[in-house]
Assembly symmetry: D2
Homo-oligomer: 191 residues x 4
């Protein structure tokens, strides 16, 4: 069974809510999913990351980039980076902020670069915007592709904050990443 | 046998030389590699792309982004994009320019976005800079990770233009992408 | 009187409509504005660009980057680039696409890199999202900052396509860039 | 006399050395330059930033983006951001890392986005690579344009670490930004 670790930061539970939806989607495929809040990491965080087939990064977008808490985590990954211990793991990413675009793309770009430095393989969002599919579900309503991008306002987390359609997009993204992980994990590694 | 298509543009044969080194590396693993110059495409370009397990994009960096010829090709891919026909193919990219950085990263970012829009899975460079491995081979000498980045000057193509170490990095990149493709192709697709 | 050239590409008049709104805003400050469609350039395009205090770049976002037509223009600027003839001109940019984000940021990033290579000084969007100012006008409704980003659908251009609030944001952006140009033009150049 | 604040982070004095060279260049034009280490900020940091005509951001590139310390500072700027108190200040940026490219561009992009969110006006590197000017000085030897990018290795700071040509590029960048600041400061602000 392929193992996915979701390593996220969330100050006010909005990004956390997205993390849980991504997990729900991934688990629905039969994947084993471990969700870690990287702000207050438990001891097994690093061994879980080391054992994962896929790591999904999550961070709010603050001032147009990953949060400082997420960046602190990213810098701690320099230890496995130096020996390229995460090479050929899968990676993916998601972010949440208060506007539709809100420079969320810079956050996703930062995550792709982090994954690239590790030699990981990047799984994109994989959910076509409903405006193009015509499925009427308002999925991927902002048109981000490099990862999952959702929106919430400053009110407390609720079933509609982040919005229901963003939560559904998050579950679809979780399914997509988990299916890629299953395929990758079952593929024959080069000798 | 996994199939890789290298779709590149080259005005003065420098980027083409890199394409051929990438192909050499990939073929050394047993992959089937088809190299297409997208400036003067042969009729089977689009059927080859459609059948490929992995597409490697190649473009010089001109004025800080992919070339206009490459961008024309990228726009032509809107046809398979609309139906997400390339979803879950692997993708990777390379670029060449006249300075070590030379905003080659913007070109690689443009390629990752293109792949993301298609729902493809992105394979990064995978070659750790020799400055960190201490292998003395001067591989990935500029420290790019999102794809392969090489340098040439305006003199004609020769075994040292692009430089020998960049050519070797290109072959290593080709091996890395081909191994990922073999693994991905042999993995069990989700039902 | 400061002179601004708007150099844009538009396939279906949507980006052109934005260009005209930007021009309207800029002209309202007393600036002299020349609007050039770069797809079918008139002879004086290059002398107008050479004489401008500020150049505003405009392009639709196609497949996550500037259009191939715009990129062709960008490559033609390598001539003034080589001698850094545009150094210390102001620059700004705008883009239009079919989704709120739609990877428009990559297009704006490509334009900033182009301006950077020319040694130009980049004027950002300068219009705070209404969601933060609470002005109720729905300005900068997607939350882009690096330049102006608007949305239209595939229906023909009309007063509401691109949307009225995007058109108003475009005029505000035009005012902002024109005010910066007036200030810059009246400032004392270094000897 | 125009005032420039250099707000930098440096773990091992390499980025600090660059900051001091930038200051030296800027001061040679008659500008008033205040250099702040943002890791251990003195009380007047925020009033100095508030009073500055231009803010130059500096950060090492760690794992392909600004450092977590710099990002913490960036998030603290959300206070002046909310009221757009820094709107129409000039901004510029520099970064240092251990490889020629080393994804320094992502760091500079993050800084441009930060400046854009503040409505600041971005001054680019302004130093043409010597490989194109033929001045034989090896300036801007890696070909970055969006800001200043230098390289050092892990050995202690010395006159040749960062390299002498990078230090000279830093001074030229300081002169360029200071001249832009003088021009901008002397220009007539819109009523």
């Amino acid at each position: 069974m392929p193992t996915i670790v979701i390593a996220y930061h969330s100050s006010n539970h909005h990004t956390e809510a997205v993390a849980l939806e991504v997990a729900k989607g991934a688990e629905s495929t039969g994947a084993s999913v471990i969700v870690h809040n990287i702000e207050n990491p438990v001891e097994r965080l690093w061994s879980d990351l080391s054992a994962a087939d896929c790591i999904i990064f999550g961070s709010p977008t603050y001032m147009g980039d990953v949060s400082a808490v997420f960046k602190t985590f990213a810098e701690q990954t320099s230890k496995p980076w130096f020996g390229q211990e995460w090479k050929n793991k899968l990676a993916a990413g998601f972010t949440n902020s208060g506007t539709p675009a809100g420079d969320k793309l810079t956050t996703l770009q930062s995550m792709t670069i982090l994954a690239a430095q590790h030699g990981m393989v990047w799984v994109n969002c994989g959910v076509m915007p409903s405006v193009y599919t015509g499925d009427g579900k308002n999925l991927n309503r902002f048109g981000h592709y490099l990862g999952l991008a959702t929106m919430s306002d400053n009110s407390p987390v609720s079933p509609t904050n982040p919005a229901a359609e963003d939560r559904e997009t998050a579950r679809q993204f979780g399914i997509h990443v988990a299916q890629a992980t299953a395929r990758w994990a079952s593929g024959q590694k080069a000798a």
